[in-house]
Structures are given as structure tokens and as C-alpha cells.
Amino acid sequence: MTLLVGCLVLLVVAVVLLGLFRDLLYSALALAAASVLLSVVLFQFGANIAAVFELSVCAGLITVLFVSTVSLTKDSDQGVESRLPARFLLPMLVVFAAVAYGGSHWLASYLTAPAPPVGAPASFAEAFWGQRGTDVLGQVAIILAGVLGVLAVFRAKLAGGHHD
Amino acid sequence: MDLQTTALAIIAVPLLGSFLIPVVGWMRKGKLTGYLAVALIGAAHLMTWTLLGPARAGQVTSFKIPFYGDLINLSLTIDALAAFMAFTSSLIATLIAIYSLGYIEHGDHEPEYYFIVTLFLGAMMGLVFSTNIIFLYTFWEISALACWRLIGYFREPDYIWKADKAFLVTFGGAVLMLLGFVLVYAQYGTFEIADLRGKTVSAVALVLILAGVFSKSASVPLHTWLPDAGVAPSTITSLLHAAILVKIGLYGFARLFCNGLSIPPQWHKWLLAVALGSAFVSACAALQETNIKRLLAFSTVSQIGYTFLGLFAFTATGYVGALLYIMAHGLAKGGLFLCAGIIEHGTHTKDMTKMGGLFKKMPVTAVAYLVCALSIAGIPPMAGFFSKYFVIQGMVNGGYHYLAVGAILTAVLTLLYMLRSFHTIFLGQPRGESHHEGAPVMVTVVAILAVMTVLAGFFLPMPFALAKVAAAQRTIFYTLAGLWR
């Protein structure tokens, strides 16, 4: 329980720091840290595979992608960011915390009796392949879309006018 | 052919046949499209002859082709009113189509012109026989979109705007009317006019429906699109004013409120006042106008007001007068606009102050114009007199003496502007360059219309008998003592 609370607090802190850092790379690292913390949380709830995904894909892959993009666009306007958001983030955080606190407690007051899960899958494999096969196809599709999308975006642009 | 098949054929021949015209026009250029249009419209007209006999005998044929649930059926009714309107409109439209052969220059848009003219007539025929409100509305709108394309025929930017204005106003009125129909549906649960017979219409629905009727039939204050629509080719203005478009509102009112729903009597006098105001205001405008086509358009607005007076009186005489008015005005105004077309062709202007002394150059046109103008003004023995007489008699019979006096005064204004226009155009000193009479086919058509205007007066008993049958078929059929002595 303490670990959970600690992780969650740190996660929030990481996210806030992400907002406060001036340097993009620090922010990216803060995000990675948040992902790591999230994967710990996932672990604690027994979502092992999800935790691994979170760790490898989010904390790893996205950070890499992000950093490479940062380097690809380095000559660009890094300094455009005003300090305005950071200045108001902390005061706003209080408001957000209040809203989230109120919201979660309000929620808690209604979510008293969890419905007994009917036909709950025994294992992840069964859940993933047996019950959520549709999602598997969807994932294939979305990955294909992502790949083709990135390829399409980076394709060689045709020179010339609009006539064939 | 039985009556059902005939009625369906009258609708289908021009409506579906019109789609052949662009195909023909696409395959080969030339006058063929025009001949095809004349053939289609003429065929529809010839078929209407077979309806006259049964209609005059008082026979009412109704049938229903179920379409969607009990909501929307293709219900057709062939009664005296429908036969009268179908016959009159298609007759005038046929003549106008023939005239077009000489009038429309052979250009890019010729197939489109004939296509839409034929479609237009098809819509009118459909409207005339439909007794399901939704179908009535559908044909109503087809006519609006046809008129949109036709008014903008010359493609000048300003003209297009005027075409758009016409479409917007008539469409706007029509959708309000649609809302009115829906309110009626909500109240009585049917779109069948036959099932609505005698049911009282609510105030809101009435106002909404009248918005559609008035905008279509160009009544003040929703009329300003009609004079503006004068930028169309003269055949089209003629078609709009004489044969089809503005008659739709009148017919719609007659169908909906004289043969269907009923309007509480305490509103009759307000309706009459509105119609009279419309007739008067537009007569004033006509007196001030110097553009020949705008003048004639204002005159149409005024005459439409008159026809409404006949309908709004809700007396048998008024109803007969209104129907005769539709016929008489159609013939005469058709003739006038076609005359205007010849004049415009000959003088290349629409400004009457630049005309004058044309009698010598175009005598046939001049005489035809005078005859038609006198008919509009209500001088016997032209048909226009009788229609005007019965309308006013209808008002008097209904007990609206003061309004009848107003109608008489408006008739005086009509006489004034009609004759004045004749004098300005045809008499006096010639102004402007040399002019010439129109093409033979055009002059012939104009002469035919003028002769028919006179003959309609001499042979009045025929349309009169039909109109009387129609009056007897109304929802509220009552006669005042001594009406038909």
C-alpha cells in the first residue's frame, strides 16, 4: 500500500516536473520516469504483461522516438515556449487535486458493490486471444496504419503542379 | 385508357420524357430538342382533353398508390378543378413551347432550356393531380428549382442573383408551408387531402401554409422576386406568369382550403384584405414602372391578388371567378409576355420610354397586345371581364361590399396602366432605330393567344360549366339565394 501511494505520488511529481522543466530533454526524461512508475503500479496490481509493455514501449520506445525527433528538429524554435504554463501549473495543481479528489470520492460513493465478473478469463492469454480477438485484429490494423502513415508522411513528395 | 392511366400518363410523359431531352441534345445539336419538348408538352395537353368530359359530368376519380406506410401515398384525384387546371396550364404551355422554337437562339444551353421547361410542366401536371400533401409539395418544389434554372438562363451575374432570389423566396415560403403541413399532420394524422376535408386548420398552420402560397404566387410582400424574374427569357416569364408558376399557389390554396381543410370564417375578411392590398400595391407599382416586363410582372401580382380575392371570398361565385381568372389571366398574360418578347427582339430594349409608334411595324403584335391588355383590364367581351366580374360578384355575395369597392378601384388602376403601356409602346411618335415584326411562328402564337382570349369570352359557358362543377365539389358547398339566376 505504501509502495503504491509512493509510486502514485512520485508519478504525479514526475508529471508536474515534466511541466516545469525548461529543457525538453529533461521533460522527456520526466515522462520516462512517469512511465516507469506507472509500470510499477501495474505490477502491483498484477498486470505484469501490461507493466512490461509500459516499461519497454512507453518508457523506452517513445522516449527514443521523442529524443530523435528533438534532435531532428533541433535547429527549430526551441525557445518559443513561454514560462506561463509552468508559472500557473502549481497553483492549478491544487485545483486539479481538489477536483480529482472530489471526483474520485464521489465515484467511490457510487462504486460500492462491484458486479461479480461473469466468465472472467483465467489468464492473460485467454483474455487476449480468446475474448478480445477483435482487439488483436484492431491492433494489427492500427500498427499497419501507423507504419504506412509514417511511411506516407516521409515519402518523396512529387514535384510539380497539380495536373497529371 | 381509363382515367387513372391517363392521369398518370399526363404526369409521366413530360416529367420522365424530359430526361430524354438532354440525352438527345447531347447526341446531336439542332432544333430536335425543341421539337421533342413541344411533342411531349403537346402530348400531355392532348391527353387532358379526355379528362374534360368526365370532369364536366361531375365525376371524381380518386386512387391511391401506396408508397410509404399510411404517411405518403401517391394519391391522385381527377376532378373538375384538376381537369380545369391541367387543361389550362398545358394549353398555354404548349403554345409557349411552340413560340420558343422561334425565340430561343440556338446556343449551348438549348437542351437544358427545353429539358427544364418540359420538367416544369411535368411538375405542374403532377401537382395538379396530387392529393397527398407530400407529393403536392414535391412537385411544388420541382417547379421552384426548374424556375431557378430558367430565370438564370442568360447567365449574367445579376440575373443569376435574381434567379437565386426567386428560388430562395419560393423555397423559403415552401418550407414554412411544409412546417404548416406537418402541424396539420400532427393534429389530424394524415397527409391525404381527402381525409382532411372539412377539418379546421389551426391559426399557426394557416399562416405558415399561406407563407408558401403567397411566396409562390407572388403576393405582397413576398412578391418582389417576380418582377426581378423578368430577366429571364420572355418565354420563361410567360411560362412563370401565365401557365405554371404563380398559378401553383392559387391552385394549392384552392386544393388545400377549398377542397380540403377549412378556414374559420372570422379570418376570411383578413385574408381578403391582404389579397386586396396585394392587388392594389402592385397595381400602383405597375403604374410607376417603365420596364415593360416589370410592368407586366407587377400586373401579374395584381391579378393574382384578384384571383385570391375570388378564392378568399369562399363563395361559389368567387370560386368560379377565380378559376375563370386563372384561365383568362393565363391566356392574356401569356400573350402579353410573348408580345413583350417580340418587342424585345425587335427593339433590343425593355424600356418603354424608348419605344413608341411600333404599331406600324408590328401590327399583329400590337393588336394582340391590346386585346390581351383589355382582357386583363376586364373589358368585355374578352374573357378577363367575366372572370373579374365573377370574382367581385363573389365578394359581394360574401358580404364584403367595401372590399369589393376597393377591388373595383384597383380595376380602374389596371385599366389605366394597361392602356397607358399600350399607348407608350405602340402609339405616338416612333423612338429609337428601326424595328421589325417577330418571326412568323412567334407572331402566330401571339395571335392565337389573342384570339383565344376573345373566344374564351364568347365560349365562356364551357369553362364556366366546368368551374361550376368544381365549385360544387368544394368542401363547403353552399349557395346564396338567387346566385345562379
Binding site: L24, G46, M92, A108, G138, I142 | -
Partner: protein, 102 residues
């Protein structure tokens, strides 16, 4: 509802709100990508909260995995577009990307 679940919901909502705040206030497109990621973290927490509340960790696990893939694809596509945006000599300032208006 257990307190752990409550905590998950609380943290999830909070992170989500912070994410929205970041999206609202930041200008740099790259930072907006981070904002999107923060949003996703919040959503993951809430999803997990729901699963934990029900005790359906296996089901929720598969949902979260799917979500992570979606999130990644989105980030990749977005980053790719940002690169092209940069190549097209467009500003990376989202406020400058306001030529489409009216």
C-alpha cells in the same frame, strides 16, 4: 471501493487534468506530444482503477496493452508529422500554426 483503487482513480484524474492543462498552455508541438503522453498515463491509471475495482486484472491488462500500442502509434505518427512540419519550414509553435482560420 478499496483505498488502493481510490488512489488510482485520484491519481488518474489528476494526471489527466494536468495533461489537459499542459495541452492547453504549451506552445511547442514537441511538448504537446508530452502532454498527450501525460494524458495517456492518466487514462491508463483510470483504466487500471476500473479493473482493480472489479478484480479483473487479466481483462484490464489486455485493454491496457492495446491502449499502450495505440498510444505509441499515435505518438509515432504525431512525431513523424512534426518532423515533416519542421521540414516544410513551418514553425513548431502551435500558435503560429493558425493559418487556417475564419
Amino acid at each position: 471501493m478499496t483505498e488502493a483503487v481510490l488512489g488510482l482513480f485520484f491519481a488518474g484524474f489528476l494526471v489527466f487534468l494536468v495533461g489537459v492543462y499542459l495541452l492547453l498552455s504549451y506552445r511547442n508541438l514537441l511538448r504537446l506530444v508530452l502532454g498527450v503522453e501525460v494524458l495517456a498515463k492518466g487514462v491508463t491509471l483510470v483504466l487500471l482503477g476500473a479493473g482493480a475495482h472489479l478484480g479483473m486484472t487479466t481483462l484490464i491488462q489486455s485493454l491496457i496493452v492495446t491502449f499502450i500500442i495505440v498510444e505509441t502509434i499515435l505518438a509515432a505518427v504525431m512525431l513523424a508529422i512534426i518532423v515533416v512540419c519542421h521540414r516544410t519550414n513551418l514553425s513548431l509553435d502551435v500558435r503560429m500554426l493558425s493559418r487556417l482560420r475564419g
